[in-house]
Amino acid sequence: MTAAILASEGGGSLGFPILPALVLVPMIGALVIGLIPRSRPEVARQVAILSSLLAGVLSIVLLVKFDTADDGFQFTVSQTWVSSVDIKFFLGVDGVSLFLVVLTGILFPIALFAAKPTNDPKGYYAWLTLLMGGCMGAFLALDLFLFFLMFEITLVPLYFLIGKWGHGRRVYAATKFFLYTMAGSAFMLVSIVALAVIAKAGDGGQVTFDFTKIIASDSLATNTGRWLFLGMAVAFAVKVPSFPFHTWLPDAHTEAPTAGSIDLAGILLKLGTYGFLRFGLELFPEASVYFAPLLLTLGTIGIIYGGIVAAMQRNFKRLIAYSSVAHMGFAIMGLFALNTQGVEGSVLQMVNHGISTGALFILLGFLYQRRHTYEIKDLRGIAKVAPVFAGIFTVVMLSSIGLPGLNGFVSEFLVLLGTFMAHRWWAVVAAAGVIIAALYLLWAYQRVFQGEPDEANASFPDLNLNERLVMVPLLVLIVFLGIYPKPVLDRIEPSVNRILTRMEEQVDRYDQARTQGGSELREVPEGGGHGEGGHGDEGEHALSVHVTTGEVAP
Amino acid sequence: MEASNLDVAYLALAAILFAIGGVGLLVRRNPLVMIMCVELMLNAVNVTFVAFGKMLNDISGQVIVFFVLVVAAAEVVVGLGLVVAMSRRRPGANADDLRLLRG
């Protein structure tokens, strides 16, 4: 299995260690910024933009060079670090992490362009670039210790970003965020160390933190696996954030500066869902199946509950924060549907949410710059005086609502479909989330943009050229991924199938929910006959409640 | 090992001295008196060591006494130095008044 996973080797295929570069370029950038004298803040900004753009370009290169057909980890780099416990600097990318890396590479430079710090630019840029490096590292790490390290590294810059450059209750929000996430991570650390020690049984007696080796060793007892999964799950559930561990998010978002919010919503939340996928489903297949109903429930609750609470918010940013809870609820639900459509939908949802909600926060940042308030009651009639702003907001809002033709629909649909295939009723309830999403977003839009502007709002300037340019890449992606998500889905699919196949092999209670028939049945019937295959022989097919088995369609 | 009555008497003496010193340390507030009680306890320990040295016919008991005496002397120097410094700043201070290092 290890061989299958490490299908392609490291930098050799590219002649250039692209993955370490992705992680280190921003970190070195942060270091450089730290060394720049305080008297030259514009240099700090330039270095920050340069290093993040460079990382962004590298991520695009990675995307282009990625081998679509390969379902293992590519471009791997492995450097021994602490040999006594087999901790390595081990990086690799597969279909699942690829787009999260690209998203990081795109969203961070955009965030840097979109918002400027209110004070102490040097510290601001340093922390942001460090954050970028940490995120890259977390998505690429294939060594459990390295992952944990990167996971924690992302906490510190964000704590300072919120605490120092944020709004009113920033200290409270930053502290809450930090302590809450760290508390969750504490459980994850226990699981990691336990896993490392247990895994040694299979690998010739050495403690190892190597992800691939742990998977290969396969030596977890069922109960142990479940407990360890829970440990990891707590950390990720806090990060995602999943109900009921979500209350740090609204405060963190509301008080964070714009770039902080963009990155928090766009990237950092994905660390949680990515963690669930990589270190939950892939490491603990049996436990994933066992706990799937619980997590599906939490996901569904997140969707509905997050939407309802969002509808009651008076602060625009807080409203969007709760909408993030709802969207991430979809992501969780898709993962634990444990079938191709669900997991693919979930990964796509991670990407889509990053784009749409990142865009929303950028727009809110523009709003704040002009009006210095997020309170909905203070805003009105903006569409009349700033039509371009309103128009762009409409597009992004419709994407968030899940309008077909824009990116949000594809992922939400796949998630719901996958969930329906596996656990019908959860999907039926969760689908009602689309009603609630329309409710609160349109309500907020109406309050803020429509109607007649009053005095305070009448002088709202429309977006200038820079701001429009910042939005362009995101808008293009929103439309493109809505119409033609195939390239993305094609690259995600092999890795997803790898994970699910392993789950199938490992767990004898697990049957991946597949449909009868399959997609060949598409020709126009002549004379009203039945299509071939699948359904015909089953005759009276009743919908049953439990997961069904079927032939694996080629 | 034979414990003659005399040996037991010495041990009892040391125990009583230790108890007096311990209680005195806990109850008295004057720093000087507290230091004297600490000395009393240390000396009680010395007596115990010597008594056991005699009972077990081992000379190390008496050797240890020397170590203890040295440490006790050093401790007294530091302790009295502290007491002198304190009473210069706050004349008439006792142990209970000096609690700036509370939690």
């Binding site: 191709t340 009603i435 889905l489 399959g518 009203g528 699948g534 | -």
Partner: protein, 673 residues
């Protein structure tokens, strides 16, 4: 030539794109002409495609363009299914669409966001075409939601007014409730069939288990009820009249609202395979809706609201047809309704335009003298909708009634009653607006004439003495027309006829409203063109009437009598003032049977309270728990801190105690030999 089908939706999409980016620069009126041109070209293309389709087997053509969503076993293509049903629909969608685009050039003249209007209209036409042409459920859903979004954008086009913005939001959210049903239907369909392609579904549907088919059918019905504004989800349609009239005509009369009917007809094999009660449910919903909406229309004073409720009612007829197994009848009525309702709406828009944006019918009257073309078109539309032969509405409505009778006499009676009321309220509208005495203009005569005419609606109170003053307001705050009385606006309005860009479409539509009946004359099978054309799609599941000529003629006679009765009643009340209109225009009807009111109260009351409760729960319980942990830590720490009290002797005591405990512990562990 069939391959040109891609052009049909592509043209409006191109129009949309150009107008989105360059609309402002292109400006009025060129933007309007561009928008109209693309849709007109699209229409011409449909004609070409139609010619080509004749040669295809079963008049069906399917083509795929590219893969949209590939995910394991779930593969969705962007592809078109051109069959008799979709062909019929794209023809009238683009045809009527282009006429309405043309009309809008005149109607939206002078509006500051003129180009943007056509942008949205083009996008709408594109979405509607995708809805109808989609060869799989997901693509249909794309169009479905697309038209919903465009509807939202267009209803709230004049968003500076809160009411318009709210109406748009209400439409979207109510639609979404239906969309939930559609989505669940899709999931169930994929689960069952392994594919969401219409051809697969329709061909495999006969083999479905009844429960499965019922589930899917019911979910699709929910979607249709939301989109086609049936009971109980119709509340958005009257509010949607806040949008500009062309929007009402196109979206809320001719196209979007018919999407629900289209969906049910498209899914007719599933309906056939479902439980007995499903078609009954559809028919009953249709019957209830048609009746209730008709009664509500009777009491409305806003010219567009009458037509809005009328649309709801006519859609009820289509649902009744579907439920009774008369799929072609439903489509037939959909087509004739599109013609005459669009004609009526455009006519009303022309009236509003001429009356300088006054929509209150009580201020109108005798407009036929100043707006002859509009009146002419409107009258033809009126006759069509009232079911007067030989106008198109008569044929289509009669066919529905035949199927209804076939299903159940009760439904037939309700349908007839609805027809009576329809004829009544439409005649009422025509008489109030185009005939009688003019109630506009500043002259005192006009004011007095005002009074006279108002006798019908206003002044419950012995309206007489109170001349121009207030009429005593009826106790009911939401009172209907009886109350408001002579709220004279000091009308100096001099109504005038509208420009040719507006009257031409009205007249064209009127023409079709007159002649469209030829599509499906019931006399012989040869004349039933539509039935034959749609047979590949619905043939197997269509109920067969087998009417004898005698029975047919009898039904036609009854319908005619009913229609004429309705007209006569309205004439008596509104022209001859024989009876008091207040007895008919009840506040109960005016307020929509208080259904919308009820929903609003619920949403604002218990609904909102539930939401608030949950938000409170989040803040107090969950966040409270988090903060509680923090408080607990601090509290605990504070208590523990008391141990560190700074007293040296205390510390010494603790050391002593600790030592004793350790020694005691060791002593218990150690055994003495």
């Amino acid at each position: 030539m069939v391959e040109l089908i891609w052009l049909v939706p592509a043209l409006p999409l191109v129009g949309f794109t150009i107008l989105w980016f360059f609309g402002k620069r292109i400006g009025e009126p060129l933007a309007g002409w561009l928008g109209t041109a693309v849709v007109a070209l699209s229409f011409l293309t449909t004609l070409v495609v139609f010619a080509g389709l004749w040669n295809e087997p079963d008049h069906t053509f399917q083509v795929d363009y590219f893969t949209w969503i590939p995910a394991g076993d779930f593969q969705v293509e962007i592809g078109f299914l051109l069959d008799p049903l979709s062909m019929a629909m794209i023809m009238f969608v683009t045809g009527i669409g282009s006429l309405i685009h043309l009309y809008s050039i005149g109607y939206m003249h002078g509006d500051s966001r003129f180009p943007r209007f056509f942008t949205y209209l083009n996008l709408f036409v594109f979405s509607m075409l995708m809805l109808v042409l989609g060869d799989n459920m997901v693509l249909t859903f794309l169009g479905w939601e697309g038209v919903g979004a465009c509807s939202y954008l267009l209803i709230s086009f004049w968003f500076e007014k809160e009411a318009n913005a709210s109406a748009g939001k209400k439409a979207f959210v109510t639609n979404r409730v239906g969309d939930w049903g559609f989505m669940v239907a899709m999931f169930a369909a994929f689960f069952t069939f392994g594919s969401l392609n219409w051809s697969t579904i329709t061909s495999q549907a006969p083999g479905l288990a009844e429960t499965t088919a019922t589930l899917i059918a019911v979910m699709l019905l929910i979607g249709a009820v939301g989109k086609s504004a049936q009971l109980p989800l119709f509340i958005w349609l009257p509010d949607a009249m806040a949008g500009p009239t062309p929007v009402s005509a196109l979206i809320h009369a001719a196209t979007m609202v018919t999407a629900g009917v289209y969906l049910l007809v498209r899914a007719n094999p599933i309906l056939a395979a479902s439980a007995e009660w499903v078609p009954w449910a559809i028919a009953i919903i249709g019957a209830a809706t048609l009746f209730i909406a008709a009664t509500i229309a009777v009491a409305q004073t806003d010219i567009k609201k009458v037509l809005a409720y009328s649309t709801v009612s006519q859609l009820g007829y289509m649902f009744l047809a579907v439920g009774s197994g008369g799929y072609t009848a439903a489509i037939f009525h959909m087509i004739t309704h599109a013609f005459f309702k669009a004609c009526l709406f455009l006519g009303s828009g022309s009236v509003i335009h001429g009356m300088h944006d006054d929509q209150d019918m009580r201020h109108m009257g005798a407009l036929r003298k100043v707006m002859p073309f509009t009146a002419f078109g409107f009258i033809i539309g009126w006759l069509a909708i009232s079911g007067v032969p030989p106008f198109s509405g008569f044929w289509s409505k009669d066919e529905i009634l035949s199927y209804a009778l076939h299903k159940s006499p009760v439904l037939y009676v309700i349908g007839l009653a609805g027809a009576l009321i329809t004829a009544f309220y439409m005649s009422r509208q025509v008489f109030m607006v185009f005939f009688g005495k003019a109630r506009w203009g500043a002259s005192a005569d006009a004011e007095l004439a005002n009074l006279d005419a108002h006798d019908t609606s206003a002044a419950g109170s012995a309206g007489d003495a109170n001349d121009l003053g207030e009429a005593t307001v009826a106790a009911d705050a939401d009172a209907g027309p009886v109350a408001v009385a002579t709220e004279h606006h000091g009308h100096d309005v001099q109504p005038h006829e509208s420009p040719w860009t507006m009257t031409l479409p009205i007249l064209v539509l009127a023409f079709f409203a007159l002649v469209a009946g030829v599509l499906n004359l019931p006399f012989t099978e040869n004349l039933e063109f539509l039935n034959k054309w749609l047979e590949p799609v619905v043939g197997e599941n269509q109920a067969h009437l087998g009417l004898s000529t005698a029975k047919l003629l009898a039904e036609m006679a009854i319908s005619t009598v009913v229609a004429l009765t309705g007209i006569a009643l309205a004439y008596a009340i509104y022209m001859k003032k024989k009876f008091d209109a207040r007895k008919v225009e009840l506040p109960f009807f005016y307020n929509g049977w208080y259904i919308d009111h009820g929903v609003t109260v619920f949403m604002g009351g218990p609904g909102r309270r539930l939401f608030e409760l949950i938000a409170l729960f989040d803040r107090v319980v969950i966040d409270g728990a988090v903060n509680g942990v923090g408080r607990l830590s601090r509290g605990g720490a504070a208590r523990l801190r008391t141990v560190q009290n700074g007293y040296v002797r205390w510390y010494a005591l603790m050391v002593g105690l600790g030592t004793i405990l350790i020694i005691a512990f060791i002593l218990t562990q150690v055994s003495f030999s």
